[in-house]
Subunit: 206 residues, 2 copies
């Protein structure tokens, strides 16, 4: 298809697509002459991915570019690609977490026998979130954290399992990296739904 058709089918403007081509976020089409090229389904798919990362996951374009580099780099192992992408996507933690919260996170990881890299950014992010809740006098008890951890371990097996057995490396990495990120809005929205429903049931009883 031509650029105009690619724009129509992807619902992304031709000028934005040209920009993506220029900065290398999108791979070039098959050049037909000095003025036009042909694009295919791989371009449509990449455009959808760029939009999902920027709009659904809320990433700035520079981070989108770095995630795509990892996805495209054949030398990166599946597990390392996930780690790199998650690292890129974790919001930086400004303050050093308190040792109390850092210790709670370590205990949690031990209790659930999670295999986390010592410099995994999630440790600091979680400890920081606990610190903030502590300041509000609203820190979750360990029992609730354990309930979260148990259910997320079960779910992770359902989510990660089918992907890592895929034979096509590129789509496996894409699915692993993107699935971790793009399913997050599903989970948070469905949690809000569950809260609304639970609260509605209680308000009827009382």
């Amino acid at each position: 298809m031509r650029l105009a058709d690619l724009a129509t089918r992807s619902s992304i403007s031709a000028s934005t697509i040209k920009y993506y081509l220029r900065v290398g976020l999108l791979h070039p089409g098959q050049r037909q002459s000095s003025t036009w090229s042909i694009y295919d389904d791989s371009h449509l798919r990449r455009l959808a991915l760029i939009r999902a990362l920027s709009e659904v996951a809320g990433l700035p374009l520079e981070s989108v570019r770095r995630v795509l580099e990892v996805v495209d780099d054949e030398s990166v192992q599946l597990h390392d690609a996930l780690g790199t992408a998650q690292w890129l996507l974790s919001s930086p933690v400004a303050q050093e977490p308190t040792s109390h919260s850092a210790q709670r996170v370590n205990s949690l990881i031990e209790r659930h026998q999670w295999q986390l890299s010592p410099d995994s950014p999630h440790r600091r992010v979680l400890a920081d979130a606990l610190d903030r809740l502590d300041q509000l006098d609203f820190c979750p008890p360990d029992a609730l954290l354990d309930q979260y951890a148990q259910m997320l371990s079960t779910i992770a097996a359902s989510e990660v399992g089918p992907i890592t057995t895929e034979t096509d490396r590129a789509s496996a990495i894409e699915h692993l990296v993107i699935g971790t990120l793009l399913y997050e809005p599903l989970l948070t929205t469905m949690r809000r739904m569950a809260h609304e429903s639970d609260s509605a049931q209680r308000s009827k009883i009382s």
Copy 2:
């Protein structure tokens, strides 16, 4: 305490606190003379709440103000306060979701007997998320959505239950509204941890 002490103890600058006082985000202290007032723990707590909503939940100050209005309004019922706050905090959905995704969301709500207001914003937000994943050819099967829904229903009961039996209305509303929002980073961070761990275990086996 004086304003300077409030600033020290809350780690928020005196000029920012003065701004919050001016726009009504923070209630006035007890006036001692034309030049100074005394502040107490209620001010510390409110400042921590403002910071949590703006920094942890990522809300613009205008939305923080609207959430606090609901928390402060004695005439608003617990359940309605939660609904209003969630409404304010849901990102607006630009496109009308496809009827296919809207139908999937309706079926999901029916299967799990969730009591959701017909105009709950979560319906559109979830349908929109499904549409985006559909475009990526990466839409979750109903089985996974059901797994999410089941576990979130169980967790919602643990989360909402203890709060709604609190006797102090103000703190119950505060906990319900804030808990729904501020625990989200815990859940998404712990999910990333579970993915990293699951992926690490699989990469050792293979």
